[in-house]
């Protein structure tokens, strides 16, 4: 076969002229690819903008060239390290963060806030803007506070009001507009309050055992590379429990996270692109059917099969590129709209600009998918005999291709290869890419099989006693030139995509909200000192409310495991087993109790007390949370020595627990047997169920007023905040689902168009034989209802399988099939099929019988 004829230019001209009347139609078919290309361009461009912005703002994002952070108060050894760096020219700004209850005495309203006490040279990079402008510069001139705008609303406060933090009083001088390096969504969980660090002592909140973090943000002289500065000191930092990060490190980490997110969302783009490809293939099949006469004439006039193929491949490629380009334009529009949607989630200000590589890649991939999917039906133009000019056969007979047609097999191979390559390009791991490609193939195979099954069942179940129109409609499912496979494939794939997105989203969010709702408590008091605990419990009970849980909290670190000191394990990287460093370095806030808490399950070993006292000796018992045990490489029987504020406590691991972290009760990595920690210094967390909800605020005001050191959280507010985040995520997923649904329209239209000519010809012939408009309508209706039901239901079943696999294996969560929404989507898809089918078939009523007779 001559694929590339020598006289390509005249052929291209001929292709252009010949496409005159078909351009719009062909472009419509190719528009199936547009949304897929749009998705790729939008996702890749935006991801590129975000990573560029991260790169530009990396120092502001981190807060300095280097950031040193610790949860321990400043010891001499820490100060010595900082001095070492200062001697090399590093200038530090300090940021101390801790939670506190904020009270506005004028309104008596309270709210848990994140206090940020800063030194006068903070921030080292970037700029904090305020409302009114310029208030940041005046922050240090007195006991001033700058707060997130939402705090003013919650506390019914205004600028100029006094704000109490612990025992300290501050004047609210303004609100925060832009703080570099923090995502706005973080405000939901605790509004920020910036105060000068020299007034921290007045709050009296930073006492032994308080939850505070200390950050030292360093500006490194231009002549020194931050990495070179930090690297030799890593061991020293580790010894004082300090984490050191450089701007380069945080940039690399953030970029990696964004790229992973891009790839994950890109999967939707890929599936959308494939769905588009199916639409293109169906549309081009319809297009080829319309071109049979022209091809036969060209063949009569001496065109070789290669020349004819060149003409139509050129047309399809041009229109495919145009479709992909239209998609790219749409993608750029979405890219410009995305910062509004994503602003709350990202810690950087994203400056949007065109990304030529993403646009070109989107057009190229979209154009290629359009071309490769068009090639399959286009290859049949080679089979159109010039004899068709003299004696016309049915479209299906004319276009029939041999099963072992080498070029077709090559196109099929290229098609599979393209899917695999694109899937691999979107995966961080080869196995993921291959898995995704295989899953896509499996879905397509299942849909093709169900289409064949439908045709078979239709053939076998047809009964003479059925009304004529129903028989006719059912018979259309298996007759020659039927559209069963094309429609089931397009519809099923579309339905699969939309339902999978929805089911996975519903499962993840349901899990989240169900766990959040599972807790009976609606208010929590923490940092409660031992001498305050009894009074707080009494006050709650006196108000007629219920105490749900009281947990002692003891802060500690791991000192040894099976006799090996932590410092040795951190320093010696060859030591086996390799325990994750975070597990060795962190400060643990543990509890002790004699029973397993609600929401916890023992997965290995036995709860305390199962061992005979004689075997226990002086060693206490500890139960570890599963993921901690995995990272710590700890197992039943291991002996862990804990440094409990200077006192060594030795415990044996006697059980491992599964903990649902999304529940609101305080959860703990390590739970001790009561006797192990009976003398340890502790604080308490008290959870209460207070009704009605208005009483929560009253109780909080009363107790925080009495004990300014304690903090309290209104859990209903937190639940609402979580729901806000959840609904934002849900909107994003629904947007993708609607996007996919919108994409299904041109794809379905193309699939139905593939056999539209045969339908019209048949309908008009029936009209000639006396069929009424109503009868023809009912024939079409019964056919499309059957196609719609089977296509959407198959897609739904596959989606539930896919959703289960994703939820189970990727998100490691429990699965519930969300049948209601799944059926709703299936119903919607079915309605769409019937509507498009009837719309495409309306020409049956327009065409006169003479047209059909002439065509035959």
């Amino acid at each position: 076969m001559q694929i590339l004829p020598q006289n390509f230019l005249p052929l291209a001209k001929l292709a252009w002229r010949e496409s005159r009347s078909a351009r719009r139609r062909l472009l419509l078919y190719m528009s199936s690819i547009s949304l897929g290309a749009a998705a790729l361009v939008a996702i890749d461009s935006y991801a590129s903008n975000v990573t560029d912005s991260i790169q530009e703002q990396s120092r502001a994002l981190l807060g300095g060239d280097i950031a040193l952070s610790t949860r321990r108060p400043l010891f001499d050894s820490t100060q010595k390290l900082l001095d070492t760096l200062s001697r090399q020219g590093v200038r530090f700004a300090r940021l101390t963060s801790f939670p506190s209850m904020a009270v506005v005495p004028r309104t008596t309203a309270t709210r848990l806030v994140q206090v940020r006490a800063v030194s006068s040279n903070y921030p080292v990079y970037g700029e904090i803007t305020t409302e009114p402008a310029g208030r940041w510069q005046a922050l240090q001139s007195g006991p001033h506070a700058l707060v997130d705008p939402s705090l003013l609303v919650t506390l019914e406060a205004q600028i100029g009001d006094t704000l109490k933090l612990g025992f300290g009083e501050f004047v609210i001088t303004g609100t925060l507009k832009d703080v570099p390096g923090s995502a706005e969504i973080s405000e939901i969980f605790g509004p920020r309050v910036f105060i000068p660090e020299r007034y921290v002592a007045e709050t009296r909140l930073l006492v032994f055992g308080s939850t505070a973090s200390y950050r030292f943000l360093g500006k490194v002289p231009a002549s020194i590379k931050p990495d070179a500065l930090v690297k030799p000191l890593r061991k020293s930092f580790a010894q004082v429990g300090m984490e050191a990060r450089t701007a380069e490190q945080s940039e690399a980490q953030a970029t990696r996270a964004i790229l992973q997110l891009r790839n994950f969302i890109g999967v939707v783009g890929l599936v959308a692109l494939l769905l588009g490809g199916i639409g293109v293939a169906s549309g081009v099949r319809a297009f080829v059917a319309r071109k049979i006469d022209t091809v036969a004439i060209l063949r009569c006039l001496g065109a070789s099969s290669g020349q004819v193929l060149t003409i139509y491949v050129a047309q399809a490629a041009a229109m495919g590129l145009l479709g992909a380009a239209a998609g790219a334009v749409l993608g750029v529009a979405v890219q410009f709209a995305l910062p509004r949607v994503m602003r709350d989630f990202l810690p950087v200000d994203v400056s949007v600009s065109l990304v030529p590589t993403a646009i070109i890649a989107g057009i190229a991939v979209g154009g290629w998918i359009a071309l490769i999917f068009s090639l399959r039906p286009l290859l049949s133009v080679r089979n159109i005999s010039p004899l068709q000019t003299l004696r016309r056969e049915s479209d299906a007979d004319v276009l029939r291709t041999r099963f072992r047609d080498v070029p077709r097999l090559l196109v099929d191979a290229a098609l599979v290869l393209s899917v695999v390559v694109i899937a691999l390009s979107r995966s961080t791991r080869v196995s993921n890419g291959l898995g995704m490609a295989a899953a896509t193939g499996a879905v397509i195979l299942m849909l093709v099989l169900s289409a064949s099954a439908l045709a078979y069942v239709a053939r076998k179940s047809l009964r003479k006693g059925w009304p004529y129109v129903i028989r006719q409609g059912v018979a259309n499912l298996y007759r020659p030139a039927n559209q069963t496979r094309a429609v089931i494939l397009a519809l099923g794939f579309g339905s699969f995509l939309v339902t999978t997105l929805y089911v996975v989203q519903a499962n993840l969010l349901r899990q989240f909200s169900a766990d959040a709702a599972a807790s009976r408590a609606n208010v929590v008091f923490y940092d409660v000192q031992p001498d305050q605990e009894a009074d707080i419990r009494k006050s709650v009970r006196e108000g007629g409310h219920e105490i749900v849980q009281t947990s002692p909290v003891v802060t500690m670190r791991i000192a040894q495991i099976n006799g090996v000191p932590v410092a040795t394990m951190i320093a010696d990287t060859t030591l086996k087993p390799r325990r994750q460093r975070w597990t060795l370095r962190r400060e643990y806030r543990s509890t002790f109790r004699d029973s397993v808490a609600e929401g916890e399950t023992i997965t290995k070993g036995k709860w305390f007390g199962a061992q005979p006292a004689a075997q226990r000796g002086d060693t206490g018992e500890v139960s570890l949370e599963n993921s901690l045990a995995t990272d710590l490489k700890a197992n039943i029987g291991d002996v862990i020595t804990w440094d409990v504020q200077g006192v060594m406590v030795t415990t044996r691991v006697t059980s491992l627990r599964e903990v649902i972290w999304t529940r609101f009760e305080p959860n703990f990595f390590a739970v001790f047997s009561p006797e192990s920690l009976k003398d340890a210094p502790r604080q308490y967390v008290v959870l209460a169920n207070v009704a009605p909800r208005a009483e929560v605020t009253r109780l909080q005001r009363a107790l925080v007023g009495r004990y300014p050191n304690i903090s309290s959280l209104d859990l209903s507010l937190i639940k609402e905040s979580i729901m806000k985040v959840v609904s934002k995520v849900a909107i994003a997923v629904r947007f993708m689902a609607i996007f996919s649904l919108a994409m299904g329209v041109p794809v379905l239209f193309s699939s139905i168009a593939a056999t539209r000519r045969d339908r019209i010809r048949e309908g008009v012939l029936l009209k000639t034989l006396g069929a009424t408009r109503g009868q023809i309508m009912r024939i079409l209706l019964s056919e499309y209802i059957l196609l719609g039901v089977l296509g959407s239901l198959t897609g739904m079943v596959l989606a539930i399988g896919g959703g289960w696999a994703l939820t189970h294996f990727v998100f490691e969560n429990d699965f519930s099939p969300a049948m209601g929404p799944a059926f709703a989507i299936a119903g919607l898809m079915m309605l769409l099929t019937v509507t498009i089918g009837l719309l495409a078939g309306r020409d049956v009523f327009r065409e006169t019988a003479m047209t059909a007779l002439r065509e035959n």
């Binding site: 076969m1 001559q2 020598q6 006289n7 005249p10 052929l11 001209k13 001929l14 002229r17 010949e18 496409s19 005159r20 009347s21 078909a22 006469d293 022209t294 036969a296 004439i297 060209l298 063949r299 009569c300 006039l301 001496g302 065109a303 070789s304 099969s305 290669g306 020349q307 005999s385 010039p386 004899l387 000019t389 003299l390 004696r391």
Partner: protein, 223 residues
């Protein structure tokens, strides 16, 4: 010279072989004007398809000048058609998306020849449609469409022109003019014209008549 030697064409009909043409043999010298006539179903169109290389016989040989059509590949026959054969059909078979002039240019462009537009304008003038080159087929009358088809058939100066019921869709007067046009081209260009028709009046214009019945040549006025 066009030679058909014991040409047989069979189609499969269910389990049976159906012979549409049986042992058709004749020779048509260059420059002849021949009419193939016969009733519906006699095999006229099948024969025309075979002679023009649109299809291959089940048995027998067909030679166009020195080329054995039965030995050529599909693309080889296409090339031969592009160089030596012209077609005129009952339903005109103009490409609806191309203008009259562009339709005429197609055979030349397929061969990559330059000056296709000049040649097309010249041919349009010769068939009396010089002002209609930019019209699309649907904007032309039946007679005009057929004249464009004839101009297109002559674009590559074919050695042989096949016309399948060229007047079948036209009224008597217009049909007569089309046949006159074919006659004049046959006379002036020296091309062989093979006309398939069931209309005796049209066939009467031909110098030689081959009559078919049930796939067999029952009369050949040259014999």
């Amino acid at each position: 010279m066009l030679i058909a030697k014991e040409v047989t064409k069979e189609y499969k009909s269910g389990d049976n072989q159906l012979a549409v043409l049986r042992d058709v043999t004749f020779e048509i010298p260059q420059g002849s004007f021949v009419a193939i006539v016969g009733p519906s179903g006699s095999g006229k169109t099948t024969l025309l398809g075979l002679l023009a290389g649109l299809d291959t016989p089940t048995r027998g040989k067909i030679f166009l000048d020195d080329a054995d059509l039965t030995q050529l590949s599909e693309n080889g026959r296409a090339r031969l058609r592009g160089e030596k054969v012209g077609f005129v059909f009952q339903s005109f078979q103009l490409i609806p998306t191309l203008t009259a002039q562009e339709n005429i240019q197609v055979p030349l462009e397929l061969r990559g020849e330059s000056g296709a537009d000049i040649r097309a304008r010249d041919l349009l003038e010769r068939v009396g449609l010089s002002g209609r080159g930019h019209h699309f087929p649907t904007q032309l009358s039946g007679g005009e469409q057929q004249r464009v088809a004839i101009a297109r058939a002559f674009a590559n100066s074919p050695r042989i022109l096949f016309a399948d019921e060229p007047t079948g869709n036209l009224d008597g007067v217009t049909g007569g003019r089309i046949v006159e046009l074919l006659e004049s081209i046959n006379r002036n260009e020296g091309s062989t014209v093979i006309l398939v028709t069931h209309d005796q009046n049209i066939a009467a214009h031909a110098a030689r008549t081959i009559r078919l019945r049930d796939g067999v040549v029952v009369e050949d006025t040259a014999a």
